[in-house]
Symmetry: C2
Subunit: 426 residues, 2 copies
Amino acid sequence: MQFEFSRMGGKLAGPSGILTLMDDLGRALASDPHMLMLGGGNPALIPEMTQLWRERIEVLLNTGAIDRTLGQYDPPQGNLQVIESLAKLLRTHYGWNVTTENIAVTSGGQTAFFYLFNLLAGQMPDGSYRRILLPVTPEYIGYSPLGFGEGLFVGCRPRISTPDESQPHLFKYHVDLEAVESALSRHSIGAVAISRPTNPSGNFLSDEETGEIVELATRHRVPVIIDNAYGAPFPGVVFQPTTPVWNESMITTFSLSKLGLPGTRTAFVVAAPQIIKAITAMSAVTGLSHGTVGQQLVADLIESGQIVDLGPKVLRPFYEEKSRFAVQCLTDALKRHTVDGRIHVSEGAFFLWLWLPGLPISSQKLYERLKLRKVLIVPGEEFFFGLEEPWKHAEQCIRLNFAQPAHVLEKAFEVIASEVSLVCRG
Amino acid sequence: MQFEFSRMGGKLAGPSGILTLMDDLGRALASDPHMLMLGGGNPALIPEMTQLWRERIEVLLNTGAIDRTLGQYDPPQGNLQVIESLAKLLRTHYGWNVTTENIAVTSGGQTAFFYLFNLLAGQMPDGSYRRILLPVTPEYIGYSPLGFGEGLFVGCRPRISTPDESQPHLFKYHVDLEAVESALSRHSIGAVAISRPTNPSGNFLSDEETGEIVELATRHRVPVIIDNAYGAPFPGVVFQPTTPVWNESMITTFSLSKLGLPGTRTAFVVAAPQIIKAITAMSAVTGLSHGTVGQQLVADLIESGQIVDLGPKVLRPFYEEKSRFAVQCLTDALKRHTVDGRIHVSEGAFFLWLWLPGLPISSQKLYERLKLRKVLIVPGEEFFFGLEEPWKHAEQCIRLNFAQPAHVLEKAFEVIASEVSLVCRG
């Protein structure tokens, strides 16, 4: 039987960068142990963290709580005690004015964005069409296929600087507020969205920049969604000081994945009650409820507040050291092969974002060539979506996961630099 | 800030029976320990099963497999080893002609149906609109809000029999094949869907009836989706012999929830490769990947084939005994209060389906009155959707979960019978 797919189904089931990335991630790992995995966003298996989860499981077994955890459904908003604890933590640690009505659980951050983008943008009841505005493009590859409608995104091109003239191989994106304001004026926008730190670039929009974007959006009565998958309040993989803020015109998401629990598919949305009610209803309709295991593993850590210490004490030092090593190691490899490559300053998350201004082929082609040499990366093209004009830069970048052991990074960077050098020499 | 929602978002986030049911389920349990929970579909905590899951967790801890289970993403199709084992099991136990290309994991059965219905029905690329055909209405409440479009369902009214004249208080639904054929001819149908055993009625469409529906649908080039949430190959809560069949025009789903693992949100879809590829892509886009814990807890049980013995050895005897007790207990309570009530023959799943032909109020109103008396049930109205003509019967039924301890059932049935008696006397 040949099956015919609906418009909507065909769109959600079509090819996408995130499908390739996730498929690569699981399949290559399972089928080829020699593949150097700098592709997807798997966190490192940090001994302190894996030990912590083992201990939490023992507690669930010893108290008998495991039976209800596995054997009963939570309500679609999420576990009510966990939500209560989280609200308390956000009030006391950050002074956020939130109660249980401001928090919902989703089955991971991607699902939260699937709900939020399609709730706030697309075809409106009055027939108008609203878009999602990305103030700094490149943005997260997973957003790109989320819309039911075509052309869901408006992306703004950032300004590019060299933050330190003595290190000309480093660059940084900055939000271009004029471009954002212009986009807000010219388009019907349902929400502004930012990943912070930004996946893929490792850029961290400063508290000041973020505040300016929120102010601008609020003036246009547009909510701002901040994706803290790698940020505050946990996992806290941000390499500079920041004070997390929230107000009712903001929607903040964070998750357990980069704490080391991606297999539990657990994220939290903090927003106005109207949004939380909608997310809860969408959770019930599209999945009844959520996985309970992740929530139970962190329940006591949220209640005690310990969960926000894991970033400063364990995760940030671990990944910051990895980041420093990776930048140095990649810089050396590029130099060895006299490759003209610039690395985005690494301010958070797990990725190096490498810009190759002289790359004569697309980053997609480079990805394919590197895969043949057993190095898995993510080509940059798919992180640039919604741009109103073509941008050569969009074909010249690749994303590299640095959460891998040092010897993997060394080997992989050597292959990447040598391959790029080969390609550039024609 | 007042938020405006898109058409699609507003629809998915709107009120629905499944939202009320799931919210009741988790919230009432958490907030009122005296509530008698005959509402949602929580499985019983069966000691043999909870013990089994504890042992499986110990194995994951002892082998160290827990670290990767929690700490890494599976590919969006699901864990490849688990899928390989399941394909082998389905080939050897049932002779199904399947490989790894015929199986995908989803985050629970509800999510599988969200994907399948919207993939196969709704607005088609040629502008036509396809519907989902339900051969026997009432059908599962969770299907009802799944469509992006309006009027996604066409429901057929079943024939009603009294299978045993000596037990006039028992009734049974039978598929009306002429009605199904007529609906297939008059409407543009994307798929036929059946829950088997049927949630809510506990009806089990016989192998013969099912074969006839599949044959009819195939003649119209329409695939048939069979929801085995309570059926084969696991959990196997079916109280009569059956031989599970599958072919490429069928799409079969089953899950770990009613085995006792609803908290892991894990289901499987068996279908043609074209469908599996689409489901995999939809999983990546709407959620990156799935929870890994459920799959790892059953991985060895699937590989060894033991998982299909759990139904006949543990679950079926347990629930069949519960069912017998519940039917007797409810029959007695109705008699005590001289209530005219008829119970659908209980052929599988966890529910009694009570038809109250003389009920002078809607079942929704009865639900509200019973909730005040601390008995949670599910009103029947919301299981009747897609019917082309009004049907009085649709307002006269309620669903009762019998997976509860005997003393809970006794108390709850007494309250229900006395309340109905009160209502009927005006």
